[in-house]
């Protein structure tokens, strides 16, 4: 479905790289990018990280483009909005419609925000596309994030994929019965879908708890960490 990112994270050249290194590099560079707030540095980061993602991690170009496209579409709209509706100061350009003008201030806001996002997105992409969630959670666990949070997150991660399969099946069943034919119908179908999923999830959680208990679960899922293949 739409979880291509999870698949990519498990299948690229950097999957086996030390997750601590990737996590800290991402956080460090994110803070640096925000702190410098420099247009050239933003572009520099964008280029470097794109090269890392495409050439080093060998993620195919189309997936990367897909990852960038949705946030990029938003950021373009938003920054146009910032440029035209905000700010005071010297008027640079008059549109002549409803007195909407571009001013030095608003241009500054719009341009800086745009490039900040341009710089930060590939960084998020670097972490999200090369590191499986389970590894990130494992990192966080050794970094003293409370164990209960990690446990719940891991169980959650597993159940998400079970739900996705069920939703897919149910939605197809509803569609073949014209469940999304009209606006009100789709509301009813969506409600039925969501509540059925919730009820099923309750049953699932019971089963999950029983199976965990019967295998001696004490609040820790032991993870086997394979030796790195040289």
């Amino acid at each position: 479905m739409k979880f291509d990112m999870d698949y990519i994270a498990h299948h690229n050249e950097l999957t086996e790289t030390n997750p601590y290194f990737k996590l800290f590099l991402t956080i460090f560079l994110l803070i640096l990018t925000l702190a410098l707030d420099n247009l050239y540095f933003d572009i520099f980061i964008f280029v470097v990280m794109s090269i890392v993602i495409l050439a080093v991690a060998k993620i195919n170009f189309r997936s990367y483009l897909k990852f960038l496209s949705i946030p990029m579409a938003f950021v373009v709209i938003t920054c146009l909005f910032l440029i035209f509706f905000f700010g005071n100061g010297e008027v640079i350009y008059e549109t002549g419609i409803f007195g909407i003008v571009v001013t030095t201030d608003s241009l500054h806001y719009g341009v800086y925000t745009f490039f900040r996002v341009v710089g930060c997105l590939p960084l998020l992409g670097f972490l999200a596309l090369t590191t499986p969630i389970a590894k990130i959670l494992h990192c966080l666990a050794t970094l003293k994030v409370p164990r209960i949070v990690i446990e719940i997150a891991l169980l959650m991660y597993n159940s998400i994929f079970i739900f996705l399969n069920e939703i897919d099946t149910m939605q197809k069943a509803q569609e073949t019965r014209l469940g999304y034919h009209s606006y009100w119908n789709s509301f009813k179908s969506l409600g039925a879908l969501a509540s059925t999923i919730f009820l099923r999830s309750l049953d699932k959680s019971e089963t999950l708890q029983h199976s965990l208990d019967s295998r001696g679960y004490t609040g820790e899922l032991p993870i086997y960490e394979p030796q790195k293949r040289e």
Binding site: F81, V118, L127, L202
Partner: protein
């Protein structure tokens, strides 16, 4: 709806992170207490979190660097209370950033405050007030979900206006609020209706569970 990666300047990222961490830490403390009392609730919490994630991955685009979707935080707050919901929302937001490129890591703090703290707290207060007043829980859940959803967006407008106070803070706030009021009210009503449908089914099939969580109105229990 989430503020995207890199959208906020550094100082505001830090401010919202600090606010979020205080509340989430309290939520974790609450969860620890619940799990110590009834260990079997761990799976329930995890599965409810997954449910929130699934609900919120059905997204619709809107302007201003964020997008709209049912957030499910009204339902979460009515079932588990706001503190626990804040922790679940935090995990959901991290997953959304890493699995869907939806939201971001630097803006995580701001998103937790709007979606995981203000929304659920409002929903919870509304829900408790309505049920205390003897109104049926179905009507209460509608307003809880509706207002929880709406207030999430109002909070985001405030956050954006703080970050971009141009020409003045109030002018920016009006701008952001107008955009969100226009795009959000129908979606918030939608979320309300959806939550009511889910709630009805829950009441019909799992009344004991709702009773155990203390989520039903006094006259329905």
């Amino acid at each position: 709806m989430h503020i995207m990666e890199g959208y906020l300047p550094l100082e505001w990222c830090i401010v919202w992170f600090v606010v979020a961490i205080i509340f989430v830490a309290y939520g974790i403390y609450q969860i620890k207490k619940i799990v110590d009392e009834t260990p079997e609730s761990k799976a329930l919490l995890a599965v409810s979190g997954a449910f929130m994630f699934i609900l919120s991955s059905l997204k619709l685009p809107s302007v201003t660097g964020s997008c709209s979707h049912p957030c499910g935080n009204g339902l979460g707050a009515a079932l588990f209370g706001p503190a626990v919901t804040a922790v679940l929302a935090t995990i959901v937001l991290i997953f959304q950033a890493l699995l869907l490129a939806h939201g971001g890591l630097t803006t995580l703090g701001a998103n937790i405050v709007s979606m995981g703290i203000v929304g659920p707290v409002v929903a919870w207060i509304v829900y408790k007030a309505f049920t205390k007043a003897g109104i049926s829980s179905t009507i209460a859940i509608f307003f809880a979900a509706f207002l929880g959803d709406l207030l999430t967006y109002v909070t985001t407008s405030f956050q954006l206006a703080f970050a971009f106070p141009a020409p003045t803070f109030s002018a920016a706030l009006t701008n952001f609020l107008v955009i969100f009021a226009v795009t959000q009210i129908p979606l918030a009503v939608g979320e309300g209706i959806l939550t009511v449908i889910i709630w009805d089914r829950l009441k019909a099939y799992k009344p004991k569970l709702l009773d155990k969580l203390g989520a039903l109105a006094p006259n329905e229990a």
